[in-house]
Amino acid sequence: MSTIGTLHLDNLHAAISAELALDQIRLEVPAGSATAIIGPNGAGKTSLLRAICGELDLQLGELQFNGKAMHLWKPQQRAKLMAILPQRSSLEFPFTVEEVVSLGRIPHDTPRQRNHQIVMEALELVDCANLAGRLYVHLSGGEKQRVQLARVAAQIWDEQAQDRCLILDEPSASLDLAHQAMLVGMMRFFARQGVAILTVLHDLNLASKCADQIVVLDRGRLVDCGEPKAVLTEEMLSRVFNIDALVSVNAKDGSCLVIC
């Protein structure tokens, strides 16, 4: 690829207890678009995200964020531009929803008034404005997930900041259908502002709806990469996922429709 993306991964190798988890990964995550990572269980999707977050040591390869090697970023500077939603969040202290979302503002030195405004807008974005005063620990799984989405949204909210990046590990887990649509809307909202989005998704139909680029991982290797229509083929699904699926076109929005 000629242009260098917000995230630039070149020839990444990483191992987890002597087992090669990532093998020669090359990937550009361009600004203003969404990239979805798909692949069967154990394909290395979460390992890839962990490598990007700096939680998995690279054996080889280069990892750049905005043209600067990832490990050279100061933690706070990076946190201002890059927000990460992990697969699992455990919070057992009685914070209110509003307080949880405002944790996303920790890296920033913006005034309290502005933070409050951002927190409310972020809650609005994930359809949780009515939960602001509730205790987080009392929410349902799907509501908690939306609040966590609002937290990472609040972390990279400032539109003036260039080169922002949003990383989501299975954000659709425990979301109902209406809120999966909300998730797609949220990704579009940030992509329009020029944010580079990288997300792991299990739901292939959701991936084809929200992603500009789909990356297929299999046993630590990047086996396919491209537009949803080019990647989501019956041949790929049988080769990588080992399923005999039907790929059709969603008459409503023209996106791919995978039926198994």
């Binding site: 939680e55 992990p86 969040s89 919070l91 057992e92 202290f93 914070f95």
Partner: protein, 343 residues
């Protein structure tokens, strides 16, 4: 439970603490008006009262404030660090680790102890702090992974460390002479009876370190409640914060054990009550628990001095009697909240 504004809670504590402090000075075997301190008529009664206040009650009151505040703050910090409301210096073996370290120094560091009292105290303190650091570090390593702390491992390692510490204590007492024995027995139960100005100065120095270092970690502790990875994603230098917090809290708990012995449950009860009242945000919680911890230990020691007057109870016994039921309640509620395998 409806939450109170943190400003209201802290505001009321700012009134309550000085009131309790004055009451503490006034109440005792003889009733003395704290105003005596400022009189200078030289009457015999007045001089006697002044001596009682400045040499006995005042240092002890200041000690109660310093130790209560420090223990409560350390409890709140450890609970944030472990992401678990059950972490308390006395429950997870930190206090017993400190006692063992202190006894070691009393018995084997005896030659250094001969000289100046403050120097002797600080040698014992070093032992206590080292014991405390070792204990927190062990418990933390054993019970915490990326996603949080396992309560059962945390409490079990506390039991194990407590057992090892008491075995070491027995071993050291075996080698101790009678003076050493008396000093060691002080750790067994917390008691503010021996508060002297030298000890107050030592504890005040430690409380100052807490006051100086902790405010910068308020937001980091909030981020920690989400989990270590999330804290890292929020730009917190997790490893550094952990190390410093473990060091500072172990310092405070260790020295408090040296000056007054093991005062249990203050670090558990106070943060628990305040979190319920005003939420877990450490920016308000840390100053709040400092004030409330100081007040609680003042009141507990006031009760300890007067309940069976003219004899005295160790304040440590009272804090256990108040604290243990709260602990049981927390355990039961925690079990109800969490899934069984988490316990």
């Amino acid at each position: 439970m409806e939450r109170l504004k943190s400003r209201t809670v802290i505001g009321s504590l700012l009134w309550l603490l000085p009131l309790c402090f004055l009451a503490y000075l006034a109440i005792g075997p003889s009733l003395i008006s704290p105003l005596v301190l400022f009189g200078s008529s030289g009457a015999e009664d007045q001089v006697r009262d002044q001596v009682i206040l400045t040499l006995i009650r005042l240092p002890r009151a200041v000690m109660a404030v310093l130790v209560g505040a420090s223990l409560a703050v350390c409890g709140a910090v450890m609970q944030g660090l472990f992401r678990n409301p059950l972490a308390d210096p006395s429950l997870i073996g930190v206090s017993s680790g400190a006692s063992a370290g202190a006894s070691f120094m009393i018995v084997f560091g005896a030659s250094i102890l001969q000289g100046n009292q403050l120097l002797g105290l600080s040698v014992v303190s070093i032992g206590a702090v080292a014991g405390a650091i070792l204990a927190v570090f062990l418990v933390y390593r054993l019970s915490t992974d990326r996603y949080g702390t396992s309560v059962i491992t945390m409490l079990l390692s506390g039991v194990a460390i407590g057992a090892v510490a008491s075995a070491l204590n027995n071993l050291f007492t075996y080698f101790a002479d009678s003076v050493m024995l008396r000093r060691i027995s002080v750790w067994e139960m917390g008691n503010l009876e021996g508060a002297s100005w030298e000890r107050v100065v030592l504890m005040a120095a430690v409380a100052l370190v807490l006051l100086w270092r902790l405010p910068r970690y308020r937001s980091a502790l909030n981020a920690f409640l989400l989990g270590e990875s999330d804290a890292r994603y929020l730009g917190i230098d997790v490893e550094w914060v952990k190390k410093e917090l473990i060091l500072v809290t172990a310092l405070a708990v260790g020295v408090s054990v040296v000056v007054v012995g093991n005062i249990a449950f203050v670090g558990l009860v106070v943060p628990h009550i305040l979190r319920g009242a005003m939420g877990p945000d450490h920016r308000a919680l840390l100053p709040g628990v400092a004030l409330a911890g100081a007040t609680l230990l003042l009141v507990a020691d006031m009760a300890a001095r007067t309940l069976i007057s003219p004899a005295e109870l160790p304040a440590g016994i009272l804090t256990v009697l108040v604290g243990a039921p709260v602990f049981f309640y927390l355990l039961i509620r925690n079990r109800a909240l969490n899934n069984p395998e988490k316990m």
